[in-house]
């Protein structure tokens, strides 16, 4: 970010004087969750940054004179947790809980959400639905503006360069009232709204009639906007769910078709705006009357179960796959393994240590692994193709045979036995037929050094079968096959097209699991990644794709940030049930097979099958975004004659 002059006024009036002095050369900094991002990206380069984040006078939430007054520096986290906000302005509390994630919420402020004025702003949306006004202060004094006057366009407000946002003021109407908030994003947290709606209602004293209805829509117009026609249609009508449903088609109003098409097409945003607007009013009605909407909401959810299996091969036929190791037994009974299979977090070092310890019958703690440094280890081409456990284990076993040969010879000389009769048992070299003849492995190693003058070292090489098929398609092209299966229970919301994986069972046949907990970790991580591919993650080949880029997509291969390439957050985690099927693999070390990449393989087809089972639409193009699902549902409905 470009450098600037940092100014930290001690109070609101000093801040306003500072702003008046520097005008549009200055920017106000509070939580920084937008301003610092813009400066990091060099989208803005202000000469002066006026930091107000520590002005406590702007950080209060007060209920007085029939109003809820929320200081500009109140954070999203404070709004999310505030009992008075939850009680008096529920839509705002829910909006805050749906902003970004808990860490950003500790920084981001309501004043910032207003000042940034994005049409996708969740807090500003809730405030508009609650009839909010914003109090500004400049050199000439204060002014109180309805949000409708404050917001003038995308990222544009009437805030003058020398003005500061002091607070947001929410009226607290008496009587039977309630509010609600609905948001659709690309995932369940850390997401910008694709579409959103908030509503508040005032009912007649007997709760029978909508006296006042405010509905606000996000991500549809140039600013957060009112759903004027929907509001008018409901006012004076019976306060029932049926009535809301009767008029929801009016929700998008003049904003549809929307010219803005970020994060989803204009068509989709208008479709779901009506659904979300209706649900927000339903929520408001439910809050006012104490209704339970769970059965009503469940009606739009369809559930299906999908199953898929995958087969994976160690390496493609004819693909070179060499692995070399040095394995040395030291005179203190510990072993050193040098190997180039790379630890990248999957647990390779753990598993290789386990296998070396097993091969030499010594404790796990007595094995040291040197890896990851091409300057100190024999050649290997790395952690790819799920090869690590399989090739490393086989190479380690081969090297251990050479180590054992020397140790057995040492023991045979030292204990006057025959080398063929010795074996390794729990840290000792032992004679199979004479329990008296045994010596610690370290002693045998020392004897080899000093007496035999031989090194207890193994240098081995493993190259799995991977011959190209001959002219009759015969040969041994694959060293090992391994298998994976997923069962996915998916719930599809037929009104929004949102698919949600509720339960997921993922099982891998990895042969003998050298470390079951690490295999579980692979299965779990793979499953979540697979769900991401199935439902959310959309890397566009863009201009490098022969068929050309899809309209509106980024021309680079990858989306530009981690919001638009939405890998799962913890909130997107379904109930996950990992499992292992341990079928001994004769070609594998200790019966083991790979478990890495395959763990991500059958998840997406299982989810797609579950979507088909749930709602009868067969999609082939990953990811199955809500928009694709809703489009397919509507196409299906149109192609089928209505049954009476």
């Amino acid at each position: 970010m470009r450098n600037f002059e940092y100014l930290a006024p001690a109070g609101v009036d000093e801040a306003i004087r500072t702003l008046a002095e520097h005008g549009s050369d200055a920017i106000v900094l509070a939580g920084g969750t937008d301003v610092l991002v813009w400066m990091n990206r060099r989208e803005i380069a202000p000469k002066y940054v006026v930091y107000i984040g520590d002005l406590q006078e702007l950080g209060q939430i007060r209920e007085e004179a029939g109003e809820l007054r929320i200081g500009a520096l109140v954070t999203q986290a404070e709004l999310a947790e505030s009992p008075v906000v939850a009680k008096k302005a529920l839509a705002l509390a829910i909006a805050a809980r749906n902003c970004a994630g808990p860490i950003v919420r500790n920084l981001a402020t309501i004043g910032g959400n207003l000042g940034t004025a994005t049409p996708a702003g969740d807090l500003v949306l809730a405030c508009m639905a609650l009839g909010g006004k914003v109090r500004l202060k400049g050199p000439k004094g204060e002014r109180l503006l309805p949000l409708e006057e404050f917001l003038v366009g995308p990222q544009a407000t009437v805030l003058a360069p020398d003005e500061l946002i002091l607070e947001i003021v929410l009226p607290l109407p008496s009587g039977v009232t309630g509010s609600g908030f609905q948001k659709l994003g690309r995932r369940k947290a850390m997401t910008i709204s694709t579409a959103s709606a908030a509503a508040s209602v005032v009912l007649s004293a007997d709760g029978s009639t909508f006296e006042k209805v405010i509905v606000a829509l996000g991500s549809l117009g140039p600013t957060v906007i009112h759903s004027d026609e929907f509001e008018r249609a409901l006012t004076g009508k019976p306060a029932t769910l049926e009535e809301i449903n009767n008029w929801r088609h009016l929700a998008g109003g003049d904003a549809c078709p929307s010219p803005r098409a970020r994060r989803a097409s204009a068509w989709y945003r208008c479709e779901v705006a009506a659904v979300l607007a209706a649900r927000a009013v339903e929520d408001a009605l439910a809050a006012a009357k104490g209704l339970d909407l769970s059965a009503h909401r469940a009606a739009s959810k369809k559930r299906g179960r999908g199953i898929a299996g995958a087969i994976y091969s160690l390496t493609p036929p004819g693909f070179p796959n060499p692995c070399a190791v040095n394995l040395q037994m030291r005179e203190d009974g510990s072993a050193v393994l040098q190997i180039g299979v790379v630890e990248i977090g999957q647990g390779a070092n753990t598993v290789m240590t386990q296998m070396a310890a097993e091969a030499l019958a010594i404790p796990y703690e007595n094995v040291t692994v040197h890896t990851n440094d091409t300057g100190t280890v024999p050649y290997d081409f790395g952690t790819v193709s799920s090869r690590g456990t399989f090739v490393a284990g086989n190479a380690i076993i081969r090297a251990s045979l050479q180590v054992k040969e020397v140790l057995y010879e040492a023991a045979a000389v030292a204990l006057k036995g025959h080398p063929d009769n010795f074996y390794l048992c729990a840290g000792f070299v032992c004679d199979k037929y004479d329990t008296e003849k045994r010596m610690p492995i370290g002693e045998a190693a020392k004897f080899a050094h000093f007496v035999l003058k031989k090194l207890p070292i193994g240098t081995a090489f493993f190259y799995p079968k991977s011959s190209a098929a001959d002219q009759n398609s015969q040969g041994e092209p694959i060293a090992a096959f391994y298998y994976h299966a997923t069962v996915a229970d998916v719930e599809v919301d037929v009104e929004t097209g949102v698919a949600d994986v509720v339960d997921l069972y993922a099982v891998v046949d990895c042969g003998k699991a050298i470390n079951p907990r690490l295999v579980d970790a692979q299965v779990e991580g793979g499953a979540i990644q697979a769900i991401g591919w199935a439902l959310r993650e959309d890397a566009q080949p863009g201009l490098t794709c022969a068929s050309g880029p899809a309209e509106g997509y980024n021309p680079d291969f990858m989306p530009v940030d981690l919001e638009s390439y939405p890998i799962a957050t913890s909130m997107d985690l379904p109930m996950l049930h990992p499992g292992l099927v341990e079928v001994f693999e004769p070609e594998g070390p200790f019966g083991a097979k790979p478990a890495g990449e395959i763990s991500a393989n059958s998840g997406a087809p299982a989810v797609f099958n579950a979507i088909y089972k749930a709602v009868g639409v067969r999609l082939f193009d990953m990811p199955a975004t809500p928009e694709k699902i809703l489009r397919a549902l509507q196409d299906k409905a149109e192609s089928q004659p209505a049954t009476v």
Binding site: Y6, V104, I344, L562, A568, S570
Partner: protein, 161 residues
């Protein structure tokens, strides 16, 4: 213009000279060589740089260093007591809740802040508490389990997280 700032880092007072456009993340990593907060997206989207600022978990990439004057900063180095791991750290090790480890310091601090505020979180509350820390390897199953395990242990020991 460079100015001197003084703040508390893991209980120890630190003074550094910083330009205004330097983030807390840069100061920690480059000037104080505390590299546990990871530099990743620098947009507040990944949580790899999570630190605890005045008791709240925040993204160090979104905090200007000059604004930290007089405040308290904790990084993952504050968790262990000498060589004795914090129950959260031990649970992450025991349960294999870290794979590549890039998100782990941030996740531990988000979890620490969560447990300080709520010593007995539900499964759902832990999911919410970790929602700002992206992880590509683990699928979150084991981190969530580790936080619940550590929470139970801390409650049993009767100490705050």
């Amino acid at each position: 213009m460079r100015r001197e700032i003084t703040f508390t880092l893991n209980g120890e007072e630190k003074s550094v000279f910083v330009e205004p456009n330097i983030t807390l993340l840069q100061v920690l990593r480059e000037q104080l060589t505390v590299t546990s907060p990871k530099r990743s997206c620098e947009q507040g989207e990944c949580g790899a740089c999570t630190i605890i600022l005045n008791g709240k978990a925040v993204n160090a990439c979104l905090v200007l260093a000059v604004t930290v004057q007089g405040k308290r900063v904790e990084t993952v180095e504050s968790l262990a007591n000498g060589t004795e791991l914090h129950p959260l750290q031990r649970a992450f090790v025991d349960i294999t809740a870290a794979q590549c480890g890039y998100c782990t310091p941030g996740m531990l601090l988000a979890a620490k802040a969560l447990l300080d505020a709520n010593p007995d979180p539900s499964y759902e509350e832990v999911k919410v508490g970790l929602a700002g820390n992206l992880c590509r390897c683990t699928g979150y199953v084991k981190p969530v389990e580790a936080v619940l395990t550590a929470a139970a242990e801390l409650r049993a020991a009767g100490v705050k997280g």
